[in-house]
């Protein structure tokens, strides 16, 4: 296996727009909002950026195809701009493109920017999309909550967990994320909720209720990356570097072969193993300071914490209920509110998760700052459905750690 990119790329600056129902903002407004923060944080000029990666997933709903919308919004000076899409893990793809460009030496400073403007559909939830000519003719009439809800059925069957216990653990996850979101001024949802309210909410897709589902938001986030040497030459101290970037993509095995039982993410396990190896982590439960998991649904977060080898298989329910992942627990998960409350503007989400880890490492997370100094953070960005998905894992940490 290749040596990987551990500590080869540093984050020079990051920015993130306010997430939420941005009725008065167009996608390019959100792009500029995130970018202004990042370029100021980086302390460079736009002309110093040599290449850009632009992530959106449901581009037909807002900016349309290609890299042109980003280049135009930021008036980028005829540099390479590549639009990327990989379901809900698109933001991580943009980060991967920019990071690999720097790691390869192809360019010194690169930009990754994601945006999604989802609230122009006329209804709540994700937009209904075509799935491709043939897929539309045979795929089940599947929605995002309906596909992830099935994790619960399979998880219960495998681990002998009652519906009530699982619902309770899922409720704990959502209550925790709302608590965290209430301390985040950029979060889409900043209200606290009670376990009782979660359990009494109407069902969206059995057994997921309204509060088991993340927000569908407008928003943008971006990262400017460079080499540690250049970062230092630009006056940066206490660098935050990339420890690992891994991506695993379903090949149809889960969907077609009877070796997968539906209770976990085969991709997450593969990507996590490779990421830990790249980052030099062998005890994730002890070595990770923070986790940003792709909590599109509460059950996704629960199952993922096992797939990341932080909780033992079948043990996430106990860990969750014990408060292991709470903001004051051993490994806080979604200390910023997560997709659940920070929100989920698809193309921006992976970058938003990195943004939070980046802020926390620098002690800049305000009211939600983790007091115990974070050293390594894991970003898990998932796209698709449990039976066919893309799973990205990024590990970010202090330079040299």
């Amino acid at each position: 296996m290749a040596k990987g990119i551990r500590d080869k790329v540093a984050i020079l600056g990051m920015g993130c727009s306010k997430f939420g129902e941005r009725w008065d903002r167009e996608a390019d407004d959100l792009i500029v909002e995130a970018y202004e923060e990042a370029i100021a944080d980086a302390g460079i000029e736009t002309s110093q950026i040599e290449a850009a990666w632009f992530s959106t997933a449901i581009e037909e709903q807002h900016v349309g195809k290609s890299g042109v919308p980003l280049a135009t919004a930021l008036r980028l000076p005829y540099i390479p701009v590549t639009r990327v899409e990989n379901f809900c893990a698109s933001g991580s793809e943009a980060f991967r493109g920019a990071t690999y460009a720097v790691a390869s030496g192809a360019c010194d400073i690169a930009l990754a920017l994601g945006v999604e403007k989802l609230k122009d559909t006329g209804y709540g939830g994700l937009p209904q999309r075509g799935r491709g000519a043939l897929n539309s003719m045979y795929w089940a009439n599947i929605s995002a909550p309906g596909s992830f809800a099935q994790l619960a059925a399979a998880y219960r069957a495998k681990h002998g967990v009652s519906r009530e216990t699982l619902k309770q653990a899922m409720a704990h996850i959502s209550v925790k994320s709302h608590d965290n979101g209430s301390r985040n001024p950029k979060a889409h949802l900043q209200n606290k909720i009670t376990e009782d309210a979660v359990l009494k909410a109407p069902l969206v897709a059995e057994p997921l209720g309204l509060f088991d589902c993340c927000g569908v938001s407008d928003g943008s986030a971006c990262a400017i990356v460079t080499t540690p040497e250049i970062a230092k030459s630009l006056g940066k101290r206490d660098l935050i570097t990339v420890k690992a970037l891994q991506l695993a993509v379903s090949n149809g095995q889960e969907a077609q072969h009877n070796s997968w039982d539906g209770s976990y993410f085969a991709t997450a396990r593969a990507a996590a193993k490779r990421a830990y190896q790249e980052a030099g982590i062998d005890k994730p439960r002890e070595q990770l300071s923070l986790v940003e998991a792709h909590d599109c649904f509460s059950i996704t977060e629960l199952v993922t914490l096992e797939d990341l080898f932080i909780s033992p298989e079948g043990g996430a329910v106990k860990d969750v209920l014990d408060g292991f992942y709470d903001a004051d627990g051993q490994v806080p998960c979604q200390i910023d509110g997560g997709l659940k409350c920070f929100g989920h503007p698809i193309g921006a989400s992976g970058l938003r998760m990195i943004y939070e880890i980046y802020l926390q490492m620098q002690g800049r997370a305000g009211a939600r700052q983790r007091q115990q100094e974070p050293v390594r953070g894991l970003v898990h960005n998932l796209g698709g459905m449990p039976h066919q998905n893309v799973c990205s894992i990024a590990i970010i940490g202090k330079h040299g750690a």
Binding site: G130, A133, G146, A153, A154, Q256
Partner: protein, 498 residues
Amino acid sequence: MLGTEIRERSLMVGIASFGGYIPRRRLSRKAIVDANGWFNAGLRAYAKAERAICAWDEDSVTMAVDAARDALADGPRDGFRALYLATTSAPFEDRQNAGIVAQALRLGAELNTMDVGASQRAGTTGLIAALDAVAARGGPVLYLAAEKRRAAAASPAELLYGDGAAALILDRADGVARFLGSRSASVDFVDHYKGKGREFDYGWEERWIRDEGFLKIVPPVIAGALAEAGVKPADIAHFCLPCTLPRVAQAIAKQAGLSESSVRTNLDGACGDTGTAHPLVMLVHALQEAKPGERILVASFGNGSDALVFEATGALPAMQQKRRGIAGSLRQRKEETNYAKYLAINDLVKMERGLRAEVDKQTPLTTLYRKKDMLLSLVGGRCERCGTVQFPKSNICVNPNCRAMHSQVDQPFSEFSGKIMSFTADNLTYCPEPPAHYGMVQFAEGGRIMVDFTEVDAGEVEVGMPMRMVFRIKEVDPTRGFTKYFWKAAPAGGAKEV
């Protein structure tokens, strides 16, 4: 003057197998009358019992497929000469509906397929033609009749009609019932009609239909059929005549010299009158009860009349054990008391379906043709190298320990027995009848499909539940009038009675 014709039958022709299908859902007629009785007090006479109604994802084509699968059972599917489908409620005016059924059943391309329709007599007229074809050219021929008639709200038809299908396999042998003879009459007697582009039937006075229609047109045809069959009227044990008018079948039996006890139930209040399929539905129902040697007379009425005579053979009792037929379908029943839901799923009332229903549903016909075995016949792949079966078929085997290239041969999945591995009941996605149930179904024979469920009841689905695959409507493209079919998973052996 009745047009009649006597045929010579030198060759033995019979029914080799039979099958039936009545939708599980039975709409309470009281629920209909409770809703509409204020407008037409005359409807109250029908306020008892029930009628069969299709689920939102069923039509004449899907019911024909299910009835045919009952008749085919695990018998061979190759070698069929022809497939005829009789219906006046075909989903397509110009795209052969019998061809869709043949494709779904994997009967092969070397098949003579034909739609028969345009009259309530089509079911029996087509059957006589099919029997003639078998006599002349040999069999087997798969003969199907299916009907899902639309009826206007508050009409008696809404209470009396029912949805259902019947299937017969005809061949040059006695089979389970030997064909003895038939007679037809073509009479342009318009008791009702449905004009081009019209949604509903337009009918004339019932007393005239009874006196000038049934009672004058049917008896001579019965007499002719009996004469051709060489059977005395008193020797008929089962008399099948669909008629929603009261006491008409009894009056005709009396006129024709048939015993009073031979008049079979028209299944009114059970499934209702299944239109042009109904003579066959009643015939299959009779075949499920007849004893060897008994004679069955089937007659129809619609722009004339047909009558056919069969004789049950010693092979019938064994088959009675093996077929669901009409009797078995009637036992698999779920009462529906929500009349408003019936109106909604049949597009009989303007519903607010929401913005999620607005997604473009165009079907690329090139893709449909290229993938017809996969989409209409549920054919997947089996790896000749490692034996792994998978859906859909692909160039490289899905088995991670194999990955052979171009090693897959056709593997039908439609008769596989599945179990639910994971599922949900989805209230978000657009579905004509929410919640949308779907999930991963894993097959005992290998392979799995993430697939829509049908015929399941909310709160009754569990991991491990046995499922069978059924041919259903995937969705309807309202902009272009195209019905998309695919397969869904339904509880195996029929859902429990609710």
